[in-house]
Amino acid sequence: MSLAQHLPALQVVLPLISAPLAVLSRRAGLAFLIVTAAAWTAFAIAIALWLQVDLSGPVSYPIGNWEPPWGIEYRLDRLNSFMLVLVSGMAAIVLPYSRASIEREIPQESHYLFYAMLGLCLTGLLGMSITGDAFNLFVFLEISSLSTYVLIAMGRDRRALTAAYQYLIMGSIGATFIVIGIGFLYLMTGTLNLADMVDRVARIENSRPGLAALAFITVGVSLKVALAPLHQWLPNAYTYAPSSVSAFLAATATKVALYALIRFYFTVFGDAFLFEKLPLPKMMLVLSLFAMFFANFIAIFQDNLKRLFAYSSIGQIGYITLGLSFDSVDGVAASIMHLFNHGVAKGAIFLLIGAIVARLTTRQAAPPAPGFDRIAGLAKSMPWTCFGIVIGGLSLIGVPGTAGFISKWYLVLAAVDKGQWWLVGAILFSSLLAVAYVWRFVEAAYFRAPPAGREAFGEASLFLLIPAWLLVGATLWFGIDTSFTVGSAIEAAQQLVHSHQ
């Protein structure tokens, strides 16, 4: 077999190898180079795989030549090749950014560990996306989760440790639930291969163990997704983690968990069963609306920028699950698009907030919270940073011309298609809440006078600005040229949604 055929394996293996290499190197610079190279290669592979799926349909790769369903199978279709591009792309952008960003946020001696952990986290997320095996998915989930706990705990703020600990407990509960659910499925079907499971699940899904498996998986994954009311670990984790980690997690971790949810719901259990026989859609609808309004509302009253946008993430997840609850091609496509569009916009925002934090941090002290009193009048000294956050914010609101509009448009179309006009109102009204919190930033950064006594400082360094603005540019780009996002999402949704065909 040529190298090209092994791309699915290399996708995961390269970042996996980079992590121990980074540890062995014990030098920040070298570790940075190794992991960054791995991330960039992974990005290139992800694009290659996406093209391959685009040209010649789904790809199946047996690990170690053990044929599925006995061996572990890596299986690529529209949906997860799209996810791979998002995850590896974010890593490729966040890693170069980290070098300048963690300078003051993480003690010098543990920099190489930071890169190793980021490499592992990337491995886990890519593995979760690519694998076609239920237990393998759990393993990769654990790899990404464990490395995430470490990454969060590396934040200099002492509360980072508590936040990481809390996330550790909650994440472990979630993972336990998932493995219990997978265990039930294995007991009932005798297979761990997701594709193989599909037909067998159809026979047992009415049984109590089948339903219990579904409940455990739903709750476990919802925890990782941070679907309200299981979101409580998220605000602290995003707030106290190092900036680049916040950005990477916000853009990828919850998104991959959502991918797992979609995979279990639509591929394994099948939407015909879930959405027509079970009260699941109503449940999802209620929880989504709760997230959209409650989290967006709370975001308005936050004083810490990172915390504000963390709550906004919880709200945005509500839109994604809302789209899923429609169980229509438009709705699921809107969700998949929003995964991507929100990831890009939120990643940009967190990277730019990191640039602000870097400016506010003095060398020895812990980074201060980017509160509204500290960022007052910031637009004068950091115009590019503030403008970038505003653009990202516009995408969160769903202003036309930004990526956020595209996914909201499809979401609205899906609601109209279902005849749910009141949901159109709910979507627009909750967007107004987003206007309110984005406006708080604009008001503080552009209209308030800088606090007396703040030292004058300039624009963020280009090492921080360029990666962040790449994402800002992507937010605008995918607001106009939608062929990649909309095209992938709609085809993926067509593969997932069966009940109407």
Partner: protein
């Protein structure tokens, strides 16, 4: 897609982004060149639908060139040029940037051939123009701008909803005649109505315009409401309901305008009055009436911006436009005085000035159509509005000498006013050039003996009344006072509503709290407990309570699934 396929608004909007990068003479040159090039661009457009793009599966027409869009885009571009010259003395780039982007989005909206593009430009005009309000110096500017923005965004939202309903019902987003019976028609009607300052929906206009900077008010007076007039004429021509609405718009601002002390607010009210004429024209819907509306929009932009420019010059030099504090300024600002009188003459419809040749078209159309009541009311409104209109130059430049002395307006302001004034007189003397632009072919002769005679009678008698009143000091004195418009009602209602809601919420929360537990804090603090950063729902939870939630969710799902199957 060639350059000619791109909407001319885009060049202005994108060009505006370059303004902050430029300084001094280069910026001045750029600010003049941009609309001049825009005018050149307009002159090479050929009729038809251009700039068709496919976006999200919809066919969007970004450049629909026909007689309607041409007449409005011409005057918008001229207004952009005039306003931009008028703004040249300002050193900071914000206003010119916002103004250019605002003009660009208004022109983009005029060329929009579908509701999606219209919606985009609609919201863009709101966002860009609010910056001009905020550029105002008064302490109320920020709040007034905020209210303005909220109202404008709300208008856009209604338009969006209406467009969505139309898309759902017809599968098309094309922006043609809509009518009230069309799916989503009412929503779109109200969306246009808000921007057009229909009675009771008008409060944002006299609220925000007088708070804008001297340059901002000139930009604002040209685009927002006339864009709404254009949209109404496109979508709702011949809707009978528009006639009473227009009449009300023409009549009720009179009373506010007569007693108002802030002269730019007087102009805002009189702007609202003039819009009434256009709306009546749209309501009548005959070719002549629609021609009259289009013509009146053109002349109105010219003389209204001229008046706002002269008041802006006074504001710039003296620092106030309160009638009670001005007077006798003709000695200091003779040229501005002359221009202001030109503007007042035009707005009053004096023959040989542009207002006459357009307003009389609408009046004639009303007369010929048999709308006697509307015709009479408009006559009445025109006669009454004459007072506030001539009061503006009178109180400022003549009246009792306030003793204030200042310099003449800056040269760029004078040039801008001069262009407007020349156009006002030019159109008044040779209306054929204007008529050639109108949407329908015109067989109308404004300078017939009966027209001129009727209008002169009206004006002479009104003038006589004004003179007698001033002479006998019976005219309402210029008082420092604040007038309450219905926006007071809105604001009070809003505040009152939230207060009532709070009381209801508190009492509801109180009863729930009492029932649940005696340990609950007083119910009044419940809302703050939920809201403040340390509130119940926001503070970090202990890990145990989180796990509790996980268990609850699990049980919930298990139960629901078992019950559901």
């Amino acid at each position: 897609m060639t350059i000619a396929e791109l909407t001319p608004g885009l060049a202005l909007a994108l060009g505006s982004l370059l303004v902050p990068l430029l300084r001094g003479r280069v910026r001045s040159f750029f600010l003049i060149a941009l609309p001049v090039l825009g005018l050149a661009h307009l002159s090479v457009l050929s009729p038809g639908e251009h700039g068709v793009v496919s976006f999200l599966g919809q066919r969007l027409v970004t450049l629909r060139v026909d007689s309607w869009s041409m007449v409005f885009s011409w005057i918008f571009m001229v207004a952009a040029l005039i306003s931009s010259i008028y703004s040249l003395h300002v050193r900071t780039p914000l206003q010119a940037t916002a103004g250019m982007a605002y003009a660009g989005s208004a022109i983009g909206a005029v060329f929009a051939g579908d509701l999606m593009t219209l919606f985009l430009c609609w919201e863009l005009t709101a966002v860009t123009s609010v910056l001009l309000v905020w550029a105002g110096s008064g302490k109320n500017a920020y709040r007034a701008g905020m209210r303005y923005l909220i109202v404008q965004i709300a208008s856009g939202m209604l338009l969006f909803f209406g467009a969505l309903i139309q898309l759902n019902a017809t599968g098309s987003l094309a922006f043609g005649h809509i009518g009230l019976d069309a799916p989503g028609g009412w929503l779109i009607f109200i969306a246009f109505g808000i921007k057009c300052a229909f009675p009771l929906l008008h409060t944002w206009l006299p609220d925000a315009y007088p708070e804008a900077s001297e340059v901002g008010a000139v930009f604002l007076s040209a685009f927002t409401t006339k864009l709404a007039v254009y949209a109404l004429a496109r979508g709702f021509a011949g809707t009978d309901l528009l006639i009473p609405i227009g009449v009300a718009m023409a009549v009720f601002p009179i009373f506010f305008a007569v007693i108002e002390n802030d002269l730019r607010r007087v102009l805002a009210y009189s702007l609202n009055n003039q819009l009434g004429f256009m709306v009546v024209g749209i309501g009548i819907g005959t070719e002549m009436a629609l021609n009259g509306t289009a013509a009146h929009a053109v002349t109105h932009i010219l003389y209204k911006s001229l008046l706002f420019m002269s008041m802006g010059a006074v504001l710039y030099r003296v620092g106030t436009v309160k009638a009670s504090e001005l007077g006798g300024l003709y000695k200091s600002m003779p040229v501005t005085t002359v221009f202001c009188i030109f503007g007042a003459a035009s707005i009053s419809g004096l023959p040989l000035f542009c207002g006459f040749v357009s307003k009389s078209m609408i009046m004639s159309a009303a007369g010929q159509g048999g709308y006697v009541l509307a015709w009479g009311s408009l006559m009445f409104a025109a006669a009454c509005m004459f007072h506030p209109d001539i009061r503006v130059p009178f109180s400022t430049f003549f009246a009792k000498d306030s003793g204030k002395r200042c310099e003449e307006a800056p040269i760029n302001m004078l040039v801008a006013m001069g262009i407007s004034a020349i156009l006002c007189v030019g159109i008044g003397v040779a209306p054929a050039y204007l008529y050639a632009l109108l949407p329908y072919s015109v067989a109308y002769q404004p300078y017939s003996a009966s027209h001129v005679l009727a209008q002169m009678q009206l004006l002479v008698f009104s003038g006589l009344v004004f003179a007698v009143l001033v002479r006998n000091r019976a005219y309402l004195p210029d008082l420092r006072a604040i007038n309450l418009d219905v926006d007071w009602l809105w604001r009070r209602l809003g505040a009152g509503f939230s207060r009532v809601a709070l009381i209801v919420w508190r009492s509801a929360a109180a009863s729930v709290g009492d029932v649940l537990s005696a340990n609950f804090n007083s119910a009044a603090s419940l809302i703050t407990r939920h809201r403040l950063p340390d509130g119940l729902l926001i503070r970090s939870w202990p890990t145990g309570s989180m796990s509790l939630w996980v268990m609850l969710m699990l049980f919930g799902y298990l139960l629901l699934y078992y019950v559901g199957v």
